[in-house]
């Protein structure tokens, strides 16, 4: 019962947080003295038409009423119009979002697949070269600007070694992929086109590396420290005293308890990857939602970046909620 109350409470607070998010974005949109009319009217439009447009955009209504219209539009899926691409923002977003999500998801998987084993091994073999190199890498990773790392990777692997493709998007020009999910890795496999699959993978290597490197360091550190803590606990000591074999202790007893905190971190890391993805998209000309929002913002078109911010904030908040609930179920201790 307590669990369901907790979940309910969290959902209510989620509504409040999202409300605050919408207010913040709305205020930001109205702080700028930009004239949204210029999208609709020209030099020669007559008074009546201007008045009609103003009424449609609710520009003469009090601010709180405008906010009401804004929220109701949002709830109906209307995110506004982008005057730089002349499309509804929602349509543009739907096209560009899968690319970003694919980048983030693959980076997260890579991050987890590398960080967990590394962290565990570093903890088990403390103070050896593995441990030290893991700690150094994580220290460096946090300080490394991801765009700088991306550029260096491009220089080394594309310019010098010529083994990876140039930073020009998700695949070679002229490759044809039947879009089912928008996730090219999946779509190429669904179509059975292994050449295209390999092509897409090759284009993905550098962006994913640049994006995941910093977070990998953080996660490794966390896995390592939780593992060390678990290995020092009394029940592990008891197991050792009873003569259980080393690998049994490490990988069956300790590991199960050590991985819990890092797993909850995964949700947080996913949230951070969203921000990092924007930069990586720009460096590698990745056609995702981040680079689209930035391009629009640089052209003075604010609707895309506001919609992008709302969507990403919502995604992050929901992921945090799911992570918390998951943790509630995984760790019985905190239920009571």
């Amino acid at each position: 019962m307590k669990v369901w109350f907790y979940i309910l409470r969290r959902m209510v607070s989620l509504v409040f947080v999202m409300g605050g998010v919408l207010i913040i974005i709305f205020v930001m949109g109205h702080v700028i003295p930009a004239n949204p009319l210029h999208f609709f009217i020209g030099q020669e439009s007559d008074e009546a038409y201007v008045a009609q447009v103003r009424a449609e955009l609710h520009l003469d209504d009090p601010i709180w009423k405008q906010f009401g219209f804004y929220v109701s539009d949002l709830l109906h899926g209307d995110l506004g119009m982008s005057w730089s691409t002349r499309n509804p923002v929602a349509a543009d977003l739907a096209i560009r979002l899968p690319a970003t999500f694919e980048l983030i998801t693959v980076s997260l998987i890579v991050c987890v697949l590398l960080a967990f084993p590394l962290g565990v091994v570093a903890a088990v073999k403390r103070d050896t070269w593995i441990d030290h190199s893991a700690r150094v890498t994580s220290l460096l990773g946090v300080a490394l600007p991801s765009f700088w790392l991306g550029l260096l990777l491009i220089y080394v692997f594309f310019y010098r070694l010529r083994i990876l493709p140039p930073p020009m998007g998700r695949m070679s020009i002229g490759t044809n992929i039947r879009q089912v999910t928008g996730f090219y890795l999946i779509d190429t496999l669904l179509a059975g086109d292994l050449d295209a699959f390999g092509n897409v993978v090759r284009f993905m290597v550098l962006p994913v590396t640049a994006l995941s490197f910093a977070k990998m360091g953080q996660l490794t550190r966390l896995v390592r420290s939780t593992m060390i803590e678990t290995l020092g606990s009394t029940y592990i000591e008891a197991a050792r005293a009873q003569g259980l074999r080393k690998w049994l202790i490490h990988y069956r007893l300790a590991l199960k308890n050590a991985v819990l905190p890092p797993i909850t971190q995964i949700g947080l890391i996913w949230g951070n990857l969203i921000g990092g993805a924007v930069i990586v998209e720009i460096v590698f000309a990745w056609p995702g939602a981040g680079s689209w929002a930035v391009d629009a913002a640089l052209a003075g078109d604010y609707a895309p970046i506001q919609a992008f911010a709302i969507i990403m904030a919502a995604a992050r908040v929901i992921i945090f909620l799911i992570t918390d609930i998951l943790y509630l179920f995984i760790d019985p201790r905190i239920r009571y």
Binding site: V17, G20, A143, L152, I154, R160, I282, A297, L298, Y302
Partner: protein, 301 residues
């Protein structure tokens, strides 16, 4: 004639006392940080970069915005230690001037964030109840955005300029300090000396700023030193995207942006050196901050 404490102002004995206090704290800090040599390395690098930012620009071989078309895109050499960019500007000079720009931006940004965040947290924790609830909800909404995306949105709306980068840094960073101060104040609020001060008639503001606040300074320093490195990274990132400092102003992010398209042509020096300095500064401030944590954590005192 004996001056009253209020009239004495800044006099030699007062300066001497402050200097002695500084020396003894530094000695204590050094002693504790010796255990962690990495943090001393970090501190050293930070100091070096700060000095570079303050004094360096007076000694650069070339002016930072002087473009010499005859020496376009030259690799590092003895005349141009870090090479030149596509407009012929010497990269070394620009990197040194950019140090000043970046460190100033980060310093002002973090100071602003500390000032606003501390006030926010103080008021929130001190008055409690619904004031606290509302203020924390505001912070929750602000922190719901992925940080870079929040920074980008504010920068987009305000317009790309150095001044707006500082504003963005303040807005993005102040929640950290607000929460930090709030938790500290919540625990300090119940102390006896606060009750005692109340009994003798201490007003709210005086209580907050003269009694509670001085005990919160330690963690602010730790958080601040970690924050400054991150703020430099954020400022450079905004400029790299195009929503921050604009070219041809010397700033590490701007320089990386200008040098980025030449990376695939093999001219690595244009984007490499500015990024290297960002990396060094962030790394050093992280090491320093970790070290300071040992020194200034109240549990150790």
């Amino acid at each position: 004639m004996q001056k009253t404490p209020g009239e004495a102002g800044i006099s030699m004995p007062w300066i001497a006392k402050q200097w002695k206090k500084l020396r003894s704290t530094s000695r204590y800090a050094f002693f504790l940080m010796r255990r962690n040599p990495l943090s001393l390395v970090g501190g050293g690098i930070v100091l070096f970069l700060v000095l570079l930012a303050i004094i360096g620009p007076f000694f650069t071989p070339y002016p930072p915005a002087k473009s010499d078309i005859t020496s376009k895109s030259l690799p590092p050499s003895s005349t141009h230690w870090m090479g030149t960019d596509n407009l012929g500007m010497d990269i070394f000079s620009r990197v040194v001037h950019a140090a000043r720009t970046d460190l100033l931006i980060a310093l002002i940004g973090v100071c602003g964030a500390v000032a606003i965040g501390t006030s926010f947290g103080l008021v929130s924790a001190f008055y409690g109840r619904w004031v606290d609830e509302v203020m924390m909800r505001v912070l929750d909404s602000l922190q719901a955005f992925p940080t870079i995306i929040l920074a980008m949105t504010i920068a987009a709306v305000l317009g790309p300029s150095t001044r707006n980068v500082v504003i963005v840094l303040v807005v993005v960073n102040f929640p950290l300090y607000a929460r930090l101060i709030r938790s500290l104040v919540l625990s300090l609020k119940e102390s006896q000396y606060i009750d005692a001060a109340r009994v003798v008639g201490c007003g709210d503001a005086r209580l907050m700023f003269r009694h509670i606040l001085p005990n919160c300074v330690g963690p602010i320093y730790v958080q601040g030193s970690l924050n400054i490195g991150w703020s430099v990274l954020m400022a450079a990132t905004l400029s790299f995207i195009g929503l921050g400092t604009q070219p041809p102003a010397p700033e590490w992010g701007v320089m990386i942006k200008q040098g980025a398209r030449f990376m695939i042509l093999g001219r690595w020096w244009m984007a490499f050196f500015p990024g290297l300095f960002i990396f060094l500064f962030v790394l050093a401030s992280n090491l320093l901050g970790d070290g300071l944590q040992d020194v200034l954590d109240p549990k150790r005192r």
